[in-house]
């Protein structure tokens, strides 16, 4: 259980980092918090 959770946490972090960096390179944007954002709008 511990190993599975640790693996998932590492995969999640790597995926988030890859997504963030690839967005910065390709779209020249990085998604950051936007208070007042309405999901789906």
């Amino acid at each position: 259980m511990k190993t599975l959770l640790k693996t998932f946490a590492i995969v999640l972090a790597v995926a988030a980092a890859v997504q963030t960096v690839s967005m910065a390179i390709s779209d020249n944007t990085v998604a950051v918090a936007a208070d007042g954002h309405e999901p789906g709008v």
Partner: protein, 186 residues
């Protein structure tokens, strides 16, 4: 059950803690939904992992004062209050903030998993001192992870600095209280 068999002690504080951590996780998930900040998504994941370990943890052998417990829960709730900037930040700032969120929560989540059933918010002795995994390199990885992640909020807006200062003070106090209770229990 035979008369000489002992029923395992029910850790009510663990169950209450699990409920509270799950509540923090729900609030973090709601903030993620309303702001789309990666910080709150990772915080929600960490809080739900913590809630699971709270629900299966053992009874503590020694625990801190009521002040230490209140400080711990308030300090755990503070990161839910960070505010996003009105104007979108520059690309390098946004990138740096998101990478700090990811690194910080990776450290903090790995520490939570490593502690497992010894997990607690308020300082207490629950089994042997954890010296495996990320605890081999960092003495207080959970707080270190939170501090790293929360630095990202200062990059996004200086108006988050007072909240960061309060949060940092809370972590430093908790580290001191934990060190004291762990050294007294040895």
């Amino acid at each position: 059950m035979k008369a000489n068999q002992k029923c395992p002690a029910l850790d009510l504080s663990g169950i209450a803690g699990a409920g509270l951590m799950a509540l923090f996780g729900i609030v973090a998930a709601w903030r993620w939904y309303s702001t789309l900040s990666l910080f709150f998504a990772l915080l929600a994941f960490r809080d739900f992992v913590a809630a699971y370990y709270f629900s299966v943890r053992g009874k503590s052998k020694a625990h801190g004062s009521r002040f230490a417990s209140i400080l711990a829960y308030v300090s755990t709730a503070l990161p839910l209050l960070y505010r996003a900037p009105g104007e979108p930040p520059s690309l390098p700032i946004a990138l740096a903030a998101n990478l700090l969120f990811i690194l910080g929560f990776l450290i903090s989540t790995l520490a939570t998993i490593e502690l497992g059933s010894r997990m607690g918010v308020s300082p207490a002795v629950r089994g042997s001192l954890c010296k495996t995994g990320i605890y081999r390199w960092i003495r207080h990885p959970m707080y270190t992870g939170y501090i790293v992640a929360e630095v990202g909020w200062i990059l996004l807006g200086a108006f988050n600095a007072p909240l960061f200062a309060a949060s940092l003070t809370g972590y430093l106090l908790r580290m001191r209280l934990e060190n004291r209770i762990l050294s007294n229990a040895r």
